[in-house]
């Protein structure tokens, strides 16, 4: 009988059959943070599978690194996480310094902290603003960019560039701060501090924002570690790890004597060093809201660190010293160093055969590992949740594709 029905060409279908649909989100899509392509397998609004396709921004940075000296590669690190280029510079400079067993002057050390933390604020501001954009609210984005512009102005004054700084370099920094810069920086921090409340009002505590992010894309501790997630994504899942405190000696020495508390939920509460909005009842540890909140806390934390760095830097006598020569030879061997960039742990692996040109350069990108977890988080969510989840990972394609 069944055979008969199957063969009958007049009978097409007996009941409504639904099909899954493959939808291409990106590489040209407003909320994929660059040129990420997500292939969604959807059944109506429900997404059953997400497959990220990357590589659209691949610029062979590692191959280029094998043909340049260590300091010449600094501008290429700028173009990895272009929203936090200072932190990228710092990661590479420290990795080379680790291999060369070189120590920068104390003044340069404090200046590096100051600059890196300021850039972390700028990067988190973009992450926060763009996340608002992913959820359909436009204004916080511009509020964030307004403040970021002021940071960029400061950077421009310090090093001449607004996006790709190449300021922190192997053996120190390319230049000392111009006179009057610290006052401007302090003025910015004083002006910026009350504005954070605005962000909390517009996003963190906004009822619709909480509805859209709380209990969405929940990532357990184990899953986060399993996928090698790092940075706010890892801490948003309640893993107490921050390379600035737990990393290798050459990196943690930079933060010696700085007081800061890692922004992570411990024993059911976040650090209480400042006044923060309470965690909403719907939020589950490891969801989009927590990842976002950790970023917001880190902005405040970085502001504290910048203030401390200003004090220490201005207390230092002498100069920041000269950076290493472009052709300074490195000892043979290899070194791997992870630093806490705004997006997560940025690792640089460097193999040297004894010349000034590295034999092999490897950039372990934090966003790369953070994005890899997206298919796991997006399984079974709605289409509208995909930007919410991917946005909460705060990825930068320049860093993923290198």
């Amino acid at each position: 009988m069944a055979q008969l029905i199957d063969d009958d060409p007049r009978i097409i279908e007996f009941d409504v059959r639904t099909d899954e649909m493959l939808v291409n989100m990106g590489p040209q899509h407003p909320s994929t943070h660059g040129v990420l392509r997500l292939v969604l397998r959807t059944d109506g609004e429900v997404v059953s599978e997400v497959e990220p396709h990357i590589g659209y921004l691949h610029r062979c940075a590692e191959k280029i690194g094998e043909n340049l000296t260590h300091r010449q590669w600094i501008p290429y690190t700028d173009r990895m996480d272009y929203l936090a280029a200072m932190n990228m510079n710092l990661g590479w400079a420290l990795a080379v310094e680790k291999l060369m067993k070189y120590e920068v002057s104390e003044k340069a050390r404090h200046l590096r902290v100051l600059i890196a933390e300021l850039n972390r604020i700028a990067s988190h501001l973009v992450g926060m603003g763009a996340y608002g954009l992913d959820l359909g609210t436009f204004s916080p984005f511009l509020y964030a960019f307004r403040e970021r512009e002021k940071i960029l102005d400061l950077f421009e004054e310090a090093c001449g560039a607004r996006l790709t700084y190449s300021y922190i370099t192997v053996g120190g920094l390319t230049a000392d701060l111009p006179p009057g810069w610290l006052q401007k920086c302090e003025a910015f921090l004083d002006q910026f501090e009350p504005i954070i409340k605005e962000y909390h009002a517009l996003l963190t505590t906004n009822a619709i924002f909480v509805k859209r992010t709380a209990n969405i894309g929940v990532m357990s501790r184990e899953l986060a570690i399993e996928y090698g997630c790092s940075g706010p994504v890892l801490r948003g899942s309640g893993v107490d790890q921050d390379m600035r405190r737990d990393g290798e000696a050459i990196y943690t020495a930079m933060y010696d004597g700085y007081a800061f508390e890692v922004a992570v939920m411990k024993d059911g509460h976040y650090p209480r060093d400042h006044e923060y909005p309470p965690v909403p009842a719907d939020a589950v540890l490891g969801d989009c809201w927590h990842r976002f909140f950790v970023r917001m806390l880190e902005v405040v934390q970085s502001m504290d660190l910048v203030r401390q760095a200003i004090d220490r830097y201005s207390a230092c006598k002498g100069t920041i010293g000269e950076p290493l020569k472009l052709t300074e030879k490195m000892p043979a061997g290899d070194a791997y160093l992870e630093t806490e960039a705004p997006k997560g742990q940025m690792g640089f692996y460097l193999v040297s055969d004894g010349s000034a040109i590295p034999w092999r350069v490897r950039a372990r990108s934090s966003s790369f590992s953070n994005l890899a977890v997206a298919p796991e988080l997006c399984r079974g969510c709605l289409i509208a949740d995909v930007p919410a989840i991917v946005g909460s990972l705060d990825i930068v394609m320049g860093e993923i594709d290198r």
Partner: protein, 406 residues
């Protein structure tokens, strides 16, 4: 108007009616088109100010007030694109369907006592029904675009608008019930006088239902936080992803037209229509009896009053749009089915019982018109009121006088 043409100018009857209709249509069309230009400019300025920037500043002089005209010219000059796999006829038809629905609804919208395209005794019903047709344009656009994103947008729109029609209808029914008429003119006239006469302040239930109406109205015209059909961060541009140039601008005009329309509806149904918070006209001593010029002046005043209220509504929608994030589709449906509909139903029942047991209000005399009663206007000593259908006029007058002199 038509009578004037027939008797004074001496046109034949059909020509006179046609001319009248064309004049009315052109006026209403210009309200939408001109209104859309102004509102787009206003939206850009307001969005700019909300976001701590300036918005347009150069085109047309100081405030960039010619910006939307310049945009319109740009859109005219743009290449008219159509995707290869699109269903050509439907693709072309869709923007006009949307626009026409939005435009038609203006026919029954009173701007002042008899500044109305066509006074219908089922005006409210007509406007709500025709406004609901706008969704067809969106669905057609989404279906015909041959794009998956457009299709998603269209399906969302269909689900959303169909659901929100239910609570919206219930909200609209309350003023209709209080006024005892579906005629928008009658409903507005019943709220004449001080703002205490507005149905918004009629009783606690109407106050609540007004906010339900606002929510549903925003949802039914697809504005943030309910702009799921466009949802640029999820669906690229939703149903109009594949549209460009003038066709796209038709969708835009339809959107602004409907925004204005639902705001004007809110003004008529809950905020006294052209009757101000303060009855300026009657305080000035201007009334029907004082002559045609005064009459005209009063109506003009009323029109600006209504336009002001409707614009205020539009501005609030803009304010909301640039402040709040977008809801998810399931949350939008939850808001409608789990909150708006039951609340609207309960408030409807409440308002009904209130009307039954406390028809005079808690404080007697508070909802009496403070100014003069416009009874005379409706009967009209040869005034414009006489042009309105006589049957409905009688009824209105009856209802009004029964309230005034119980």
């Amino acid at each position: 108007m038509a009578e004037f043409l027939i008797t004074t100018v001496g046109l034949s009857e059909w020509l006179a009616w046609t001319v009248t209709a064309v004049i009315a249509a052109v006026l209403v069309l210009n309200v939408i088109a001109g209104g859309a230009l102004v509102f787009i400019w206003a939206e850009r300025k307001i969005a700019g100010r909300i976001q701590d920037r300036l918005g347009p500043t150069r085109t047309g002089g100081r405030f960039g007030w010619l910006q939307s005209l310049a945009d319109g010219l740009k859109l005219l000059a743009k290449e008219d694109l159509m995707p290869e796999g699109a269903d050509g006829m439907l693709f072309r038809l869709a923007p006009y369907v949307s626009f026409c629905a939005s435009f038609c609804a203006f026919i029954a919208l009173p701007f002042a006592f008899d500044f109305i395209g066509c006074r219908l005794n089922v005006g409210v019903f007509f406007v709500v029904a025709v406004l609901g047709l706008e969704v067809f344009g969106v669905i057609l656009a989404g279906y015909a675009s041959a794009s998956k994103w457009s299709l998603f947008g269209a399906m969302r729109e269909a689900a959303q608008v169909v659901s929100y029609e239910v609570p919206l209808g219930m909200c609209v029914v309350v003023p209709v019930m209080l006024a005892g008429s579906m005629d928008m003119v009658t409903i507005a006239e019943k709220q004449a006088g001080w703002f205490t006469n507005w149905y918004l302040f009629h009783d606690p239930f109407t106050f609540v239902i007004f906010w339900v109406y606002v929510t549903c109205a925003v949802a039914s015209v697809n504005r943030a936080p309910f702009d799921l059909a466009e949802a640029e961060s999820e669906l690229v541009a939703g149903f109009h992803t594949e549209y460009s140039g003038l066709r796209w601008s038709y969708f835009f005009m339809a959107e602004y037209g409907s925004m204005f329309l639902v705001s004007a509806m809110a003004a008529v149904l809950f905020m006294g229509g052209w009757n101000g918070p303060i009855p300026v006209a009657s305080l000035l001593g201007l009334s029907e009896g004082t002559g045609d010029t005064a009459n005209y002046f009063v109506r003009l005043l009323g029109m600006f009053n209504l336009l002001g209220k409707a614009t205020l509504g539009v501005l609030v929608m803009m304010w909301v749009r640039w402040t709040l994030p977008r809801l998810r589709i399931d949350q939008v449906m939850t808001t409608c089915l789990k909150y708006c509909t039951p609340i609207a139903a309960a408030m409807f029942a409440g308002a009904m019982l209130w009307q039954l047991f406390l028809p005079g209000g808690l404080v007697p005399g508070l909802d009496r018109p403070a100014g003069e009663i416009r009874e005379g206007w409706l009967e009209g000593p040869g005034g414009r009121g006489a042009a309105a259908p006589a049957a409905s006029d009688e009824k209105v007058a009856q209802v009004i006088s029964s309230q005034v002199n119980p």
